[in-house]
């Protein structure tokens, strides 16, 4: 509020309006979770489109990967996959903790997840640096980089969400057993990124 310049009658009206709005807000149930799920449904359609494009390229090509594509090792991406999958279990512990009003536990588990996510991204960068093909080498290389890169972008976004929750939870009152949608949202998003990676890993590394 800007203070003295505001006409008192108007302020009263505003105040009345705000309290009224707040009251209305309490009346109806929270739609954020449903909205997030609808959003993730739409988001998964981008990946579905890209995956199907990849599979079509693969089916149509006479040889896949095209001749002369250097071999790729599985060790680093395999470890990375294990880390990302386990991080889903780690972040779930945070959800368990916050439901018991344990904000300290929430912070610990979220920090652990953030570290695991960061290791995943670092592993991805390491893999990119050590691959013997570049973005433009051939169609196989291009799909590899774009699919993993687009997923990496989502991991990065999920990491930002986790860090945002950590930042907000400095205030012990911010999240509680009843009010912790931010925690829930970051967790669901992280699971989503994880599931996408499992599909991606199967398509790109195993199939």
């Amino acid at each position: 509020m800007q203070g003295s310049t505001i006409d008192p009658a108007k302020t009263a009206l505003n105040y009345h309006h705000e309290t009224e709005a707040a009251a209305h807000h309490e009346e109806h149930p929270d739609h954020r979770l449903f909205g997030l799920l609808v959003f993730l449904g739409a988001e998964s359609m981008i990946f579905a489109g890209l995956f199907l494009a990849y599979l079509t390229f693969r089916v149509v090509a006479p040889v896949w990967p095209p001749e002369g594509t250097p071999e790729r090792e599985l060790l680093v991406p395999g470890i990375n996959t294990l880390i990302l999958i386990s991080s889903s279990f780690v972040i779930h512990q945070a959800d368990v903790a916050v439901k018991k009003n344990n904000v300290k536990g929430l912070r610990t588990w979220f920090l652990a997840t953030a570290v695991m996510g960061a290791i995943f991204l670092a592993g991805q960068v390491y893999e990119y640096n050590n691959l013997e093909f570049g973005l433009k080498t051939n169609l196989y290389a291009s799909t590899f980089y774009v699919l993993t890169g687009f997923h990496g972008l989502h991991v990065f976004l999920g990491l930002c969400l986790i860090l945002a929750v950590l930042w907000r939870s400095r205030n012990k009152e911010h999240y509680s057993g009843e009010h912790h949608f931010g925690v829930e949202a970051a967790e669901i998003y992280w699971h989503f990124v994880d599931v996408i990676w499992i599909v991606l890993f199967f398509l790109l590394y195993i199939l």
């Binding site: 709005a21 109806h28 739609h31 449903f34 909205g35 981008i46 890209l50 494009a53």
Partner: protein, 572 residues
Amino acid sequence: MTQAEWQSTTTPTTEGAIPGKRKWQDYFTFNTDHKVIGIQYLITSFIFYMIGGVLATAIRTELATPESDLVSPELYNNLLTVHGTVMIFLWIIPAGSGLANYLIPLMVGARDMAFPKMNALAFWMVPPAGLVLIASFFLEAPQAGWTSYPPLSLMTGKVGEGIWIFTLLVLGTSSILGAINFFVTILRMRVPSMGINDMPLFCWSMLAASALILIGTPVLAGALILLAFDLLAGTAFFNPTGGGDPIVYQHMFWFYSHPAVYIMILPLFGAISDILPVHSRKPIFGYRAIAYSSLAISFLGLIVWAHHMFTSGTPAWLRMFFMITTMVIAVPTGIKVFGWLATIWGGKIQLNSAMLFAMGFISMFVIGGISGVMVAAVPFDIHVHDTYFIVAHLHYVLFGGSVFGIYAAIYHWFPKMTGRMLNEPLGIVHFILTFIGMNLTFMPMHELGLLGMNRRIALYDPKFATLNLVCTIGSYILAVSTLPFLANAGWSWISGKKAGNNPWRALTFEWMTTSPPAIENFEELPVLTSGPYDYGSGNRNPEMEPEESQSNMEAPPGFIPPEEARAGSPEP
């Protein structure tokens, strides 16, 4: 207590000042009120409609003669690309969002959308994206048509194509954010007394359209991301010289862009279903059939996309599949059309501008629908592919359908949005000019296409000259037809006749509050006591005149009274 009784007891009076009227500055700010956002969408998209119309007039002027005398072939390509993109992504889709934003919360008895800030964000992505696209004329405009097929789109200029991709990604994001809001609001924010089968039909059709946006638009985004890599980073996803496959782009593009046709028409199907019963004073015929056919259209709309690719080397068995699904989509669409016709059958029809445009919508859309079934047939499509027959077909659906529908919706809901009535004689002049102009412009294109005139080319064989001149004259009438509307809307908004709360004596919730509605819409949340279209049935509508109830006795054969229709089949 009936809805109308409820209305007379709890709605605040409107004597004197217009309630809920906003300052004009509010429309230029990041405002989270769904009514402000709705009007922002409608006016912004109408401005882009006029820009797209100027481009169309330039195209038709160039095509008045067989030679290239007004613009160079390159500029012609720019004009048709930007015309298509503007009309689809900056006019019809955002105009539908505008109507949905304004009407959905009012219709379901909510105080705002589920996520008001996201709603405002979705709107504010539209003007910058549109301005960038229009401004591309000063730098380098896209040239590859609104479909932007590679490899053509990779060869016609990086800057223009890059701008086109950017515009579409931003508009697509905006569209997805809007759809999340519509979807959640319709499913979760209805007043407790309103079951899903009591919703106004506009909400049903927006539910179906939102589902299509949520499923289809992300796939287009995926295609555009890959196309951007091809264009800017030199990869070869869609470039055959690097081992890529341009057909994959076509599949991804049409997986969105065919449903986009339904994204553009479904909101207006819903609006028409709401307008017809009011102005013919009769219950809607077949509420559930019309409601569920929207869902059927949206499901079938997702499995017909390759009918745009019959000449792209699609295998014969696949063409057969897409031919059949495409033809099947005529069934739910036909259900709607018959439902509308049965609704106005024997009704007390008021031939005002809203009703004229609604009836124009039905007749024009049926012509576009029939030519749609024609081009769904593979042998016929191979003959007319990429000719003016397709141009005629799509304009009958998108102009005769969507644009007539948007006008009908504006004439119907303008009193609610502004608190003032539009001028009727001017509205009728507007309708007659639009109707004549539209048919004069697009009807001859059917013949041009059958004779073999290719679309998207600035020059043509002199033997097509006469019909093309007719089309051009028609397009000038269309351009002029906008003027009475603009004058009417502008003048009526400032000093039109006061509308009152419910000038059409309609029964849906949006008419149960002041015009324009106050902030947060309802003084007290309304309670649903009767169906949305129970005009003239029994004692449910006390405002009905006696002769109106008489005229409603003449129901079409097979008519099921609304209460029975809503209850489903009778108990054994």
